[in-house]
Symmetry: C2
Subunit: 328 residues, 2 copies
């Protein structure tokens, strides 16, 4: 049974268990919503990371901790929520030592402080398997103000923050496939893979401007597919408009991969959102205020399916478009 | 490095990250508290279960799912909270097939329905290691009404629900160490180990009556130690008053273990609580209403430490008293 079949089976099996709570959003958004203090909701999300699957076992422990936190804060940002607290379930193999734990906790401490988040609970157990970490993150959003995946409309423009593809190239660097690339480019790409920057300021700033939003974790095209699926729309991406870093362009010139890798590779943790054309001016202003590049890369259409076209309007062949996972 | 050292190190490392949110209760209670809708708080807890550590890999998948849910609902009950929703992070090994998943989801469905809980989010990933499951459970409690571990006072009476030790004997049955025990006793004990009954009705009913509470997951004496530690008190348990099932008594007569196993074995998921003597009548009434045995087993004292004494008042030698884990 392939991984893909398994996960869509799980989706079919678990979604019915979510229907009694509308705020579960059919397990198809970046986080669920539950009532918070008057006028607010809590956005709540959970993610699991496994050594050898989601990070490399010899990645520095402080970076593992920070990435774990950041991928969850990215889900909250995609909902327009401001992070508040996390719970941490850790399964440690026997060979974890005090130095490793100390570094792990140090990374966590650094980013909890940077993002204003408290660790409010957790569980620590032993495992005979690989290091396995799961985080539940909680953020606040004004009631009714959360950004959803399901609300894109034909005619919306598609936007993305930052640059796309860096993490996919960075993973190749981590795997030692980029010897010969300049140290500056290699370090930059590796850094983007190892330590994403959740767009915690951008998410809340998009409330009232963006129509649909999510974070780019599975790859731009695959994630846009999630928005289109839940919104019952389609999308056309102008591949030549997709923002690439100088390092990614160097990696492409070097032959590490093509634009298809940038469009389908995961782990960028940028925000992908749609907005009516009338919001473009205000979005540009948000980008200036946050000193964060926001780029219009395409448009939502009625016809289903996601297409990427080149500058001449020709459809680009793309692979499956990232892996799927249930929820978060 | 021993497991114990590791976990107390983690505690030292993580507790400082909790201090900015008083509702984290220094990671030393069954759940954390965050603000809910007006007049309420959400109790929130997370637990991880690993195949081969917390359940046997060939346990029936529906029972694994139900136990996963129930141990978390037990934490909420210990806070006096009414369960509302869960998030589920699952790490599946490659050999999990559709039949297994279907049975797992079936068990989850059955207990979500039984306990009125929705699955509001989750993450499903692949692992090269053992099946690893973590649940975050959320319940509601009137603001300021949660039952804590840290509020026991000298003079309080110590109570426990149900019977104690069944799960510890049940684990021995599961391991095939009880051949010769009557089928009725073996099945009963095994059932208590495989499928605990969270005291979801009792927890909320104890609000305003009990002073401190937690659930018995690590063993009666060890868990009472947690209450004493956070409350800065001590405890004396009358071992002969600790309620044992007929099956546990049969297992003891059979030689499967002594009273020390019952007092220190884990996984019973009964509620352990303290209350002023004046509440005894009302507590008896709660027990009658819920048709649940509530038994007075000792008293809280000023002097630190937990002692179990026999009917003649002699102190019983006990081992370390269960394993420790961080939070939850």
């Amino acid at each position: 049974m392939s991984g893909l079949d398994e996960f869509s089976l799980i989706e079919r099996l678990f979604v019915p268990l979510s229907l009694s709570h509308p705020g579960a959003l059919r397990l198809s958004d970046d986080a669920a919503l539950i009532d918070g203090p008057v006028g607010t909701e809590w956005a709540i999300t959970t993610d699991a990371l496994v050594a050898g699957v989601h990070f490399l076992p010899d990645d520095p422990p402080d970076l593992i901790a920070r990435k774990l936190l950041r991928v969850n804060l990215s889900d909250l940002a995609a909902m327009g929520a401001t992070p508040f607290a996390v719970l941490l379930a850790t399964c440690f193999p026997g060979d974890v030592d005090a130095g490793w734990l100390d570094a792990f906790a140090g990374g966590l401490r650094q980013d909890c402080s940077a993002f204003g988040v408290a660790v409010i609970g957790g569980d620590t157990v032993a495992t005979p398997g690989p290091l396995t970490l799961s985080v539940t993150a909680i953020g606040s959003v004004p009631k009714g103000g959360a950004l959803l995946r399901s609300t894109a409309r034909p005619g919306d423009e598609i936007w993305v923050s930052g640059t796309i593809g860096d993490a996919a190239f960075g993973l190749l660097v981590a795997k030692g496939r980029a010897s010969g690339l300049s140290a500056a480019a290699a370090d930059g790409l590796l850094g983007r893979y190892r330590l994403p920057t959740p767009r915690c300021a951008l998410g809340p700033a998009l409330r009232g401007l963006a129509r649909a939003a999510m974070d780019v974790s599975d790859g731009l095209i695959g994630d846009l597919g999630h928005i289109c699926e839940t919104s019952h729309v389609g999308a056309v991406v102008e591949a030549s408009d997709v923002p690439l870093s100088a390092a990614a362009e160097e990696a492409m010139a070097f032959g590490l991969g093509g634009i298809d890798l940038a469009l389908t590779g995961g782990d960028d943790y940028e925000l992908l959102f749609t907005a009516p054309a009338v919001a473009a001016g205000q979005l540009a202003e948000v980008g200036r205020r946050l000193d964060l590049r926001l780029t219009k890369i395409g448009r939502i259409i009625e016809d289903r399916g996601v297409t990427a076209v080149d500058a001449a309007g020709r459809s680009l062949p793309l692979g499956g478009g990232g892996y799927r996972h249930f929820g978060g």
